[in-house]
Symmetry: C2
Subunit: 227 residues, 2 copies
DNA sequence: GCAAAAGTATTATATATATCATGTTTTTAA
DNA sequence: TTAAAAACATGATATATATAATACTTTTGC
């Protein structure tokens, strides 16, 4: 579950991609490669996180536990995304991340992240842009949660998943995910999600086959999510 | 309402603060100073925004109009904050900003922002950290909107305002803001906000005096907002 | 200083959606 | 390979909160 990074100058590691080629060797020395099985916790709210995880393969959910059993999913991550604390100060984080598929990650300690900025002028600009984009997404999502009814929120959730993970050759969403997780992402309950799905399946807007979901009428979903 | 920036190397302008002293003169030449009266639109969703506004005084709301009359406030900004598109690509923005008090801003065109990065190594790091912080706030707010009931959301809204704008010597929130705006920020309606306020006033948790709001029992509000 | 507009106060009603309850199927672990 | 645990399916009920309707009060522009 842990080893030195053997080769990380591949396009999927955000960090190495943004560093000068000559610097990547130091990333290899200072970073660690962690693998996580489906369902495993990558980082947990309240824990001290002294570095960043860069997802190189797999998928994860970033979530927060509420009291007893109520979980809320804040966002999803796929290869190329960053997990763990943002910025570069040591800090405990208020949010957990769990692997939804088997994951490979590069863990880079804050020390080394900090040391990398002066030497890699492009790095902070890349981070800046990454965060700016995520911020924009976050604000859109905020809006959705605050203004749309359940249908709209579920539509938005499906569209995000569609955009982030794409579809396979059969048109099925590439991420196998439980209905409960979709509900948690849309800010609703499983039961309500089920009801909405039933309606949409009847209308031919989506099609399900076990855990696989196919969006048949993308336009209809878009209409729901910006009404 | 528009003039060349006369003097902007003061601590309140995020951009100048993050640049080398020698570079600030160029900011002065390339930037423009815009002033906005209370209620005036600073930037409007759909418009092309080819630069960033740096608030040096006053307060503003960042919001999105929904169809007919439904408005949602995404966040507030005070002196030191950035408005307008984030990142540095020319782009139309999905979000509007309106002055809540008379505002002074420095407008820096994207061209000059871009040109400033290579020369001011600290600049992109400052931006990165700014965005990282805002991202964290955004994700917390997302959570609130998705999981808390109205009471909790209103409590959260008041606490944010309290934290962002502070209180005067009488303990009143320093930002004079309409109930409708608080409701829009909390993702609810004026009427519901009114009901919740009535209860809290009766309980002595808050006190109102026209537009002025005083939080008497901060602890009680905190309890509401993380239940 | 006055008219118009924006903001504030309040109740009654409607409805969307969570909660509860119960059974079935699929997946996981031993 | 079976037992246990998640995940899925579905209806009935309760409730929080938006909507609607109406009147009063303060602020703003002319």
């Amino acid at each position: 579950m842990f080893m030195k990074i053997p080769d990380c100058n591949k396009p999927l590691c955000f960090f190495c991609r943004s560093c000068q080629p000559a610097w990547r060797n130091l990333n290899r020395i200072n970073g660690k490669k962690y693998s996580f099985k489906k369902g495993e916790l990558i980082c947990k709210e309240g824990e001290l996180i002294d570095g960043m995880y860069f997802l190189t393969s797999g998928a994860a959910k970033v979530h927060k536990q509420w009291g007893n059993a109520h979980e809320n999913i804040i966002r999803f991550a796929r290869a190329g995304d960053v997990l763990g604390f943002r910025g570069m100060s040591d800090n405990t984080f208020a949010i957990s991340a769990t692997a939804l598929e088997d994951c490979n990650t590069c863990f880079i300690p804050n020390e080394h992240v900090k040391a990398s900025f002066p030497v890699n002028p492009n790095l902070s600009i890349q981070f800046m842009q990454l965060y700016a984009n995520e911020l924009q997404l976050a604000e859109m999502r905020m809006n959705n949660l605050a203004n749309l009814d359940v249908k709209g929120r579920i539509a938005g959730a499906l569209l995000s998943l569609h955009q982030k993970f794409g579809v396979d050759n059969k048109g099925h969403l590439r991420l196998r995910i439980s209905r409960q997780d979709i509900a948690s992402y849309a800010g609703t309950t499983y039961e309500t999600l089920f009801r909405v799905f039933s309606i949409w399946i009847a209308k031919g807007i989506i099609k399900t086959e076990g855990k696989s979901i196919k969006i048949c009428k993308l336009g209809e979903l878009k209409k729901e999510s910006d009404a």
